[in-house]
């Protein structure tokens, strides 16, 4: 059985986050209205319940992780992690450049980077000859440009949704 340290770690994160949320909820101002509850009532109740439920999950998942032995940690294949991080990082960069560079340029860069990035992290790039690499890059560039322009016109003209120019 493979074990996954991520499970108890995520539970631990929930325990810590719920405790922090409870502490912040306690600082909310209390305004007295006859019969009404304080604005902090629900946030405090919910964060307390999440804490109460997350602790047994943490204990159970930690025990399962320990019991699973050392057959191998299921942290995911390094390639999967790299691909996941690549997409998250590119998405963050896309948000940062979205308004500065405008929709078409930023989208074309984002799509091109996604396609080429997955080629690189997926390991396909190493297996390609120079000619095939050039063809893949050209294909990705054409796809990125066409997708950006088509979506721009569909959204701005057909659905009348304004996008940064």
């Amino acid at each position: 059985m493979q074990r996954d340290i991520g499970k108890p770690l995520f539970d631990l994160l929930l325990v810590v986050a719920s405790a922090a949320a409870f502490a912040v909820s306690m600082t909310l101002p209390n305004i007295e209205i006859v019969g009404d509850l304080s604005p902090a009532f629900f946030p405090m109740l919910i964060s307390a319940l999440v804490f109460l439920f997350a602790v047994p999950c943490l204990i159970k998942d930690f025990r399962e992780w320990q019991a699973a032995g050392t057959d191998g940690e299921r942290t995911g294949a390094p390639r999967g992690v790299a691909q996941w991080l690549l997409i998250v990082a590119l998405a963050l960069v896309y948000i940062l450049i979205f308004e500065r560079l405008g929709y078409i340029v930023s989208t074309a860069i984002f799509v091109f980077a996604c396609v080429v990035g997955l080629l690189l992290t997926g390991g396909t790039w190493r297996e390609l000859t120079n000619a095939r690499r050039a063809k893949s890059l050209a294909g990705a560039a054409v796809f990125a440009a066409v997708l950006a322009v088509v979506i721009f016109y569909v959204f701005t003209e057909l659905f009348e949704i304004p996008l940064p120019g």
Binding site: G6, F10, D11, A21, V24, L28, P29, I31, I33, V34, G35, D36, L37, P39, A40, F42, P43, I46, S47, L49, V50, F53, A54, P56, C57, G80, V81, Q83, W84, L86, I87, V88, A91, L92, Y94, I95, F98, E99, Y103, T107, F110, V111, C114, V115, L118, L119, G122, G123, T124, F143, A144, L147, A148, I151, F155, F159, E160, I161, P162, L163
Partner: protein, 504 residues
């Protein structure tokens, strides 16, 4: 009722509405045919597009997507033995063997017609059952709405995740997120940390798209294997001819599918895979030739596919009448309805009956489009299966970003969407599920505002919440369900422990 249907018919029979339903159905078919992409994701991606549309047009488009995705999961199930959606798992049992016998066209024809009949029958059941339930719900006051919200949250949390506690945590996370923003009664800012975009609370759209579309893209990116390409099925089909007579000859299987879908559909969290497996099992159990099942037997396909589409009509009953969705896709649809300015629940049937009947008719029209598009465009949809994943993932991400940004031009919502996407990815990975989060986000404010309104009306007295019969019934069912789930979990843990002791 007749006046309502006439109003609804007027809204549906407009060129723009019909085009929107057809477009939604087409997108749903494409998304449902691609393994790994879900109907909830299809609806989430359509939300921004439907923003500026009239309610029936926008909701019709989303219903088309649900209807199309419900039916097209059978395409890869039959041709490649890969279910496009979880509810198509049972389609592989007989669909793929039939395709292997050289009858792929027949299998697809049966599945399309069975889906159509399932969808139409469930629309009839929906239109018959939803109005009286909504009529009954008109008696609800603040106490009943509070209890109903708690009931909805508990029931979906207890069945959506793999563990009761984790499902409840996911629901509570959504509930907590719903408290962010200005408190509606006292005007106190809660957890806004000076961010202006948070003053009006967490926007539902980035949450929906993040939890259901971005999280799925992240999962697909994690699992992306460039060496794993779908092989061409080898089955050459130009047109999947609808097989009406053969489907009707298998009326017992059809009926079993419709009943299973309609009964399982309204049960929150039960989902399509349960409905289709129940239908398959019941059909095989009462068949004169149970040994033929699994070898390419037509009733196996008919029962499963009719159940898949009958499920949607069933799931729409509590969604429209009470505002409690049946499963993930209808939870997203519920969010879409609220974004459209349509608040599901009994008042909807009273105040905007034209819209309600328009929704029923739009669902019927979506089924007709599904039948036409699936029959005529089958060759195209088979080709869609071969689209490279890296291009597809980046295109879906772009649509997510544009959709969220396009609504109000606020970059903060893009960060929010990405944050929800990452959260959703881990919630799914560690068995919490994302549907309870959305339920918490939608039902949380209903629960909080009704509890506080009720307490103000009862001058701080909590007892009416536990003494009014309808309110008490919801709370008793919610507690009973919690106890039952805990008991089942306890028994599941006991059985392996006991068997391992015996083994020693």
């Amino acid at each position: 009722m007749i006046a309502g249907y006439l109003d609804g018919l007027g809204m549906v029979l407009q060129f723009g509405t019909l085009l929107a339903i057809a477009g939604g159905t087409l997108l749903g078919i494409i998304m449902g045919a691609l393994p790994g992409l879900t109907s909830a994701m299809a609806v989430a991606l359509l939300l921004p597009v439907t923003f500026g549309m009239p309610p029936v047009m926008g909701i019709g488009m989303m219903l088309g997507a649900l209807c199309g995705a419900g039916a097209s999961g059978s395409i890869p199930a039959i041709l490649l033995n890969i279910p496009g959606t979880p509810s198509s798992v049972a389609t592989t049992f007989d669909g793929f063997p039939m395709a292997q016998k050289g009858e792929a066209g027949r299998a697809l024809g049966l599945s399309i017609v069975a889906s159509f009949f399932g969808g139409v029958a469930s629309m009839v059941i929906l239109s018959l059952l939803a109005p009286p339930i909504a009529d009954f719900a008109l008696r609800f006051g603040a106490a009943e709405y509070f209890s109903l919200s708690v009931f909805g949250l508990v029931i979906i949390a207890s069945v959506a995740g793999k563990s009761l506690l984790k499902g409840l945590i996911a629901g509570l996370l959504g509930f907590f997120v719903s408290t962010i923003g200005t408190d509606p009664i006292t005007g106190v800012d809660r957890f806004t940390f000076g961010e202006l975009s948070l003053l009006t609370g967490i926007n539902l759209l980035p949450a929906l798209i993040g939890l259901f579309a971005v999280s799925q893209v992240l999962k697909d990116a994690f699992e992306y294997d460039p060496n794993q390409r779908l092989k061409d099925s080898g089955h050459r089909i130009d047109v999947a001819r609808p097989r009406f007579m053969e489907t009707l000859r298998n009326w017992r299987a059809l009926l079993a599918g419709i009943l299973s879908g309609s009964v399982v559909g309204p049960v929150p969290g039960a989902g399509g895979s349960i409905a289709s497996l129940v239908a398959y099992d019941q059909t095989r159990r009462f068949s004169k030739h149970p040994e033929k099942f699994g070898t390419g037997h037509a009733p196996g396909i008919v029962s499963v596919e009719s159940a898949n589409n009958a499920l949607l009509g069933g799931a729409l009953i509590p969604t429209l009448a009470l505002g409690i969705p049946g499963e993930a896709a209808t939870a997203v649809l519920l969010g879409g309805l609220m974004i459209q300015g349509v608040t599901p629940g009994p008042m909807l049937f009273d105040d905007q009956s034209g819209i309600v009947y328009g929704i029923f008719l739009a669902y019927l029209v979506a089924n007709i489009f599904m039948l036409l598009i699936m029959c005529l465009g089958i060759k195209l949809f088979i080709r869609v299966l071969m689209v490279p994943r890296k291009q597809l993932l980046s295109a879906i991400l772009v649509l997510c970003f544009i959709g969220v940004y396009g609504v109000d031009g606020d970059v903060f919502n893009l960060y929010l969407m990405l944050g929800f996407g990452i959260l959703g990815y881990f919630l799914n990975r560690y068995d919490f599920g994302t549907a309870p989060v959305i339920l918490g986000l939608i039902l949380g404010p209903i629960a909080e505002s009704n509890l506080r309104r009720g307490l103000q009306a009862f001058e701080g007295d909590w007892t009416p919440f536990f003494t009014r019969p309808i309110s008490l019934t919801f709370l008793v069912i919610a507690v009973g369900l919690l106890a039952l789930t805990l008991w089942q979990n306890y028994r599941t843990r006991r059985v392996p422990a006991t068997s391992s002791e015996k083994g020693e």
